[in-house]
Structures are given as structure tokens and as C-alpha cells.
Symmetry: C2
Subunit: 432 residues, 2 copies
């Protein structure tokens, strides 16, 4: 790394406090920052985006139910009242654990404690050429791109005269049967069956096909098997074709190849199949797993550097029994709080405590009145699970504004079967 | 034009009804379509976008107060219950008035009556090279681009160490002192003074400069002079520097040149100064004014073609006294209704009636508690005008959902001084 001006020059009493740098303003990073509010430290949150994103509802932006701003909050606004916190909108290029510095494109930031919570992006199993053909769902930009493609497909079908092409335009393939894939497939089926049902002249949107492809022998692998089967049944009821043990071997502009030679002619393919860690992890010099996640110790720190913590889905952490923790929001939130507590302990000269994950449950929604939940072994399905899902997700949104707006839009959508953010912006996907 | 398949083949009794083709789903076109609901005609609305846009509130999307979906409605959803209406999402390339056909990229649509309501875009006085440097505000994409530039400027200033560059980043120039320019300048000043005031560490957003440039000797030329002066005073009170008789002679990445040699160093320049008609008007063979608007007769039809109507800001229409009508939403709405009535008359074998504009007034908002209104000579300013403005605009939004969401977000913003859609998406402007 070249020499760049190092900020963090002491100018007041506050500036002499230990400096905690948090990379990433997602669930893990933002929770840690807030939990350090009154600690005797300075906190700097660095993110390349200006907003915290409530990712569990991102599929609702992708499927035109909510607006981007409904599930996002400016990081600066969230931390405004925190006197020991500041925010930098910047891209982190590398971590220099030896020098205890974070390298930005044009600046180096010295730290005493580092929390790396930079998250994951899509992985295409080494087939990066699939990325433009089958967008994944991690950012607001991704969600708007998927929304544009899905809505545009119906419009293009309405104008298409070749029935073979029209069928391909009205076929939607979702690759990956985890929660995101299940939610996307269910939502697209609902758009076709309800929202758009009577809006077209030449096509019948209710005849659109939605195909959900999963490589394993059931959906929702991180849930108990009965809930995976229930999700499968619910999706079929919505008209989704669920294909299990289906390995995608090719994606092109005309469709998807499954296994050796089965073809699905589809103009819209969405990716919900794999994740890979932020490339930042490679600069740590710590052991990584196959997806690039950092193999952290029980205290969530990297070997040899008790001052460098990795949390959220960037960390390959395990529970007391050695089982890997899922890359979910509750894990990230609890790790953020735990790490903040460990930093308070370190500042006070106490040893770090090993992380304990309090598993309160796991839930996924399939569609209107349909969800599955696993709460400490209690399996809940159908309307009750769906209401629980809605309440928990509204409750966990950042800010009263977002909670109110999301609740109202859900009530409106439930009553009318409509979706309020049915916008195609930035032109047709063909022009991209 | 090359031979393309001509649709509009009669297949049922409905298909034998006269065919009204409406180009553009804005205020004029959509109003005309709805007013033809039970008329003995078939209606086809063609738009290259899938949504009707409530343009008077577009500046609120550009200044992070509202989300795109709050001020837009899918054209298909608006016309869903209209049995004689259909919608095509397509780009119109030309009008063939001799053949009575609308040419799309891949299809020709025959019409018996045509309503051209395709609107206007920005005009840069022949300096098209200014367009990427100073975006205008006509579409949702424009609004998101302006939002991105404004919010990003503060973030870039926070990270900038050169004080000269920092000042240029914190200087915002709005070119054009009509309603859009006044609204943009006022909103940016409010963002700096209130919304962002305490959110940064190294910069003081309240010291940002907002400059409003107007070539004439006062603001809001279409309003009575006292209201233009009042808007000027209100803007100055918000910290906006208003420069009258200021002719922009140059725009580049570093700033704006005014008159012979005065420079304003500014990294954000917004354009609210001129409009030009859709290039479609050139294919009509009708007389155009300097901005490319169609000089229609008193019935809003073009000379020699009583079946071709041009409405909204695409029409250079005049009132009974020969005075030009403004390019506003109320004019477009009334022209849409009037033209629908004229088409009903034509179908019934009656002559068309000359358009009469019922001028109910004119209003513009400057900021919190500040607006000006001219209602049939009655001049209203300040808080009362501002409340009137808010009520009228909410009332005229399409759909209960949008009315509710906009009202709630305004109440929330009024109470907290915050802006709910403070998102920078699609990366930094530098990457565009």
C-alpha cells in the first residue's frame, strides 16, 4: 500500500479515546455502532452506501410491493444523536492488520478495534458470465433491476406476436430454493395471478409460468423438513412449479438448461442460489472458508488479532456444538451487540467472552396468508405464521416512518391485491 | 415509412367502433382516456413508460421527500376497469396523418381520432452539451439523478480536504426561476439547513450555498409581479441567493459562467430553464412554434385534420384573447376532458367546440410554510398558501394509496424536519 495521509490525529479529549472502526452499516455493523453509544470509545462507521438496508424485505421491493426508501434508513440519520459516532461514505480497499489501518481509496484510517461487517454478494459457482443474465438480490439496485425485468416481461409479451417467444417472456425461473428464492417465486406468482390478472388485452397474465429450481431434494434447507415440504405445497398451490434436485448447467438469453439437456425457455431468470464473501476478507491474512468467509474464533475475532472482529454473514462462525451459524439478520444483530460488549470489556482490561447465539427461530413467507416458521422446535404454518412474520418484520424496521409506511402499504395491498410500486424506470432491460 | 403489419383488424362489435389513439399517459392523455369511458369508441393509450407521473411533485422526489412510487400510478391499473380502453407500452416513432396511422418501432396502429399528448423535455437553448452537466427534471429517472447528485455532494464534501473544492461541492446552482427552479432551490436550502444540519463531522451543511439564476428581472414570470417578489424574499430568507437578469453563458464540471465572465464554482448544477416539444410534432406536418410545440386551432386540432388533436404542453394553444396558455397540469387536464367531449361530438356527427380554459389559479411552493398563490386575482402567500398548495396537490394525486402515503410523509417530514427518501442509489455520480 502506498503512503497516504493517516487521519485520526488527536485534537481533543474525545480524539484520544480508543478508535473503533466498523466496516459496513448492515445489521451487524449498525447494531455494534449503536451498542457502543456511551462506551469510552470513538466509533467510525464506513460504508460505500449512505443507507442501512432492511434486507429481509428486499424481495418486496423487487416485486413492486414496497419502495426502496420504505426499507432503508440513512446511516447518518440513524447515528445522528450518537455523540461518539461518525460516518464515512467510502469504499474500503484493504485492511492492514499489521499497521492497524483501514485503506480507503484516498485515505487510511487507523483503528484500535476493527469490526468487519461488510457482508456478502452473489456467487455464481464460478460461472460469472451468468450474472448479467440472472441478477441476484442483495442491494436496492438489484431489487429495482429485478422489478424492471419482471414488469417489463409482461409488457413485452403483450406486444409479442410469436407465441413461442411470448411463452418464454411469460416464464420466470428462480434459481435457489432458500428463503429468498421461495419469496421471489411466490411473489411473482401472485403478481401474475392477482395484481396483473385483468390489466392486459392480448395476454392472460394468470397463465404465466413460475419455475423454482433447487439443487437439493427439498426447499428451505435451513428449516425442518416438514416446513420445507409445506412451503413446496404452498408454492404449488400458487401455481409455482417446484423442481427439486435440479442442477442448473447453463443460462443464456433464451432460457435455462437443467441437468444434461433439459431446457426451460425463459426470458427472466433470477438468482437466489449462492453467496460469496466480500473480497476484503482476503486482505486479512486469516483463514477463510470456501465462500471466502472468515473463520473466526469463538470470540468472533481472527487468530492472532483479538482486536479484529468479523461479524454477520461475512463470518464463518459456529455455535457451541461446532455447527455453522446461518447468514441471517438475527445472527448479525446478536453478533453486533456481543462484539460491542467485548470491546467494552477490552477497553476495561477484561477478557473477551465467547459468542453465544440465542436462536429465537427462523421464518420465511411464501405469499398472501402463507408462511412457515420454526420457533425453538415449534412449527407454525399458514395464516398464523404469516401474521407473525409480518408483525416481526414491521417491528424490526428502523424508524417509525418506515414501520408506518410498510404497515399501511401491506394493509392496502392485502385489501386490493394491488402492488403500489409497479414502476418500470430506467427504460427497458434491453437498453441496459 | 416501411410497410409493417397494421393492427386494428375488426373481430368483434367493439372492434368496429371508431378507434381513438392517445399518445402519452400524462395529465392530458390519461384524462382524455378516462373521459371517453362510456363513449362509443375504442381507446388505446400508448406511452413509452408504464406509469402516469404526477409531475407537480416530482421535485419532492428529486429532493428526497417522497419515493417515486408515491407520485406515480401504473397506467394499466388506472384504466383497468375501463372496458373500452387498452394500453400499449411502446415508443411512437412518427405520426402518419395522411394514412391515419401511428408508427411504433415494430407496428403501425390505425386511428380514427388521434390525441397527441406526448409532452415536452428539457431545452438547453441549443447548448445540448450542457445536458449531462446540468440535469433537468421531467421524469422519475431525472429526479433520482438529481437526488443522487445533491446527496452525494454533501458526502463528497465531507471527505474532501481541499477547501476550494469543498466549497464548490457545497454550492448548488439552479438555472431558471420558474416554479420548478424555485421549488428545487428552496428544497435544497431546506435540506442543507434542517435535514442534514447535524449529520456531518467535518463540514457544516448549513453553510452550503444555493444560487438561483434567472434571466428575467424577476422570479415566477407567469405569476403576478408581487408574488414573484414575495417568492424572492422567501427564498432569500431560506438562504438562497437569487440572481436576476443572470444569463448563463457556460456550464462545465467546475461550475457556471454567468454573463461575460462571472464564475460560480459549483459541482452541482440543475436545469429548470426551458422546454422543447417531443420531436414527434415534426412528423405532423403542422405549424410549430420555436419550441417545437404545435400551433393548434381553437378546437385543439391541427389545420386540415380535425381528427388530430394536440393537447397539454405539446400544444401552443391560446385563450380567447390570443394569449398563450401555460404548460401546466390544469391546462392539460381541461384540454383532455374537452377533447374527449369533442370526439364524442364528432362521433355523433356534431361540430367540435372551441376550447375554453377555466383558469382557477396558479401556485408555487417555496418551502416549509411558504408558498404563493394567485387565485383569480386574489393573491395568497405564506402559511395559508402553503396549506392550500398541500391540500390541492394531495387531492389531485391519482389513487387513495398515493394520497395517504404522501400526506403521512408530509406530516412526518413537517414534524421531524427529516426527508424519508434520503437514498443514494446507483453509486456515485462520478461513475455514471
Amino acid at each position: 500500500m502506498t503512503a497516504l495521509p493517516v487521519s485520526n490525529t488527536a485534537s481533543s479529549e474525545v480524539d484520544r479515546l480508543p478508535h473503533v472502526v466498523i466496516v459496513g452499516g448492515g445489521f451487524g455493523g449498525l447494531t455494534a455502532a449503536k451498542a457502543l453509544k456511551d462506551a469510552p470509545v470513538r466509533v467510525t462507521v464506513i460504508d460505500r452506501r449512505n443507507h442501512h438496508l432492511f434486507q429481509p424485505l428486499l424481495y418486496q421491493v423487487a416485486t413492486a410491493a414496497l419502495s426502496p426508501a420504505d426499507i432503508a434508513a440513512p446511516i447518518r440519520a440513524v447515528l445522528r444523536k450518537q455523540r461518539n459516532g461518525r460516518v464515512l461514505l467510502a469504499e474500503v480497499e484493504a485492511i492492514d492488520v499489521a499497521a492497524r489501518e483501514v485503506a480507503l481509496t484516498d485515505e487510511r484510517i487507523a483503528y484500535d478495534y476493527l469490526i468487519l461487517a461488510a457482508g456478502t454478494s452473489h456467487a455464481y459457482f464460478g460461472r460469472d458470465e451468468w450474472e448479467p443474465l440472472a441478477p441476484g438480490l442483495k442491494s436496492l439496485e438489484d431489487a429495482l433491476e429485478i422489478r424492471r425485468r419482471v414488469l417489463w416481461a409482461f409488457e413485452a409479451a403483450e406486444r409479442e406476436r410469436d407465441p413461442t417467444v411470448r411463452d418464454a417472456l411469460l416464464t420466470f425461473v428462480v434459481v435457489g430454493g432458500g428463503p429468498t428464492g421461495v419469496e421471489l417465486a411466490g411473489s411473482i406468482a401472485e403478481i401474475a395471478r392477482y395484481t396483473l390478472a385483468r390489466d392486459f388485452d392480448r395476454i392472460d397474465p394468470t397463465r404465466a409460468k413460475v419455475e423454482l429450481l433447487e439443487g437439493a431434494d427439498r426447499l428451505l434447507l435451513t428449516f425442518p423438513e416438514t416446513l420445507g415440504r409445506r412451503a413446496e405445497r404452498d408454492l404449488k398451490h400458487l401455481g409455482v412449479r417446484v423442481r427439486l434436485k435440479a442442477m442448473v448447467t447453463g443460462i443464456d438469453r433464451e432460457g435455462v438448461t437443467v441437468g444434461d439437456d433439459e431446457r426451460i425457455a425463459a426470458r427472466t431468470v433470477l438468482w437466489a442460489a449462492g453467496v460469496k464473501a466480500s473480497p476484503l476478507t482476503r486482505t486479512l491474512g486469516a483463514p477463510l472458508d470456501r465462500a471466502g468467509r472468515v473463520q473466526v474464533g469463538r470470540e468472533l475475532a481472527i487468530p492472532g488479532h483479538p482486536e479484529v472482529f468479523v461479524i454477520g454473514d461475512l463470518a464463518a462462525a459456529t455455535d457451541e456444538g461446532g455447527r455453522p451459524l446461518p447468514g441471517t439478520a438475527p445472527v448479525a444483530l446478536q453478533q453486533g451487540n456481543w462484539t460491542a460488549a467485548n470491546i467494552r470489556r477490552a477497553v476495561a482490561g477484561q477478557p473477551a467472552a465467547p459468542f453465544h447465539y440465542n436462536d429465537r427461530g427462523n421464518m420465511a413467507t411464501i405469499g398472501r396468508n402463507k408462511a412457515v416458521a420454526d420457533i425453538k422446535g415449534l412449527k407454525v404454518t399458514g395464516f398464523v405464521a404469516w401474521v407473525m412474520w409480518a408483525i416481526i418484520h414491521v417491528f424490526n424496521l428502523v424508524g417509525y416512518r418506515n414501520r408506518t409506511l410498510v404497515s399501511l402499504q401491506w394493509i392496502w395491498a392485502y385489501a386490493t391485491y394491488q402492488r403500489g410500486a409497479r414502476l418500470i424506470t430506467d427504460g427497458s432491460p434491453d437498453r441496459i
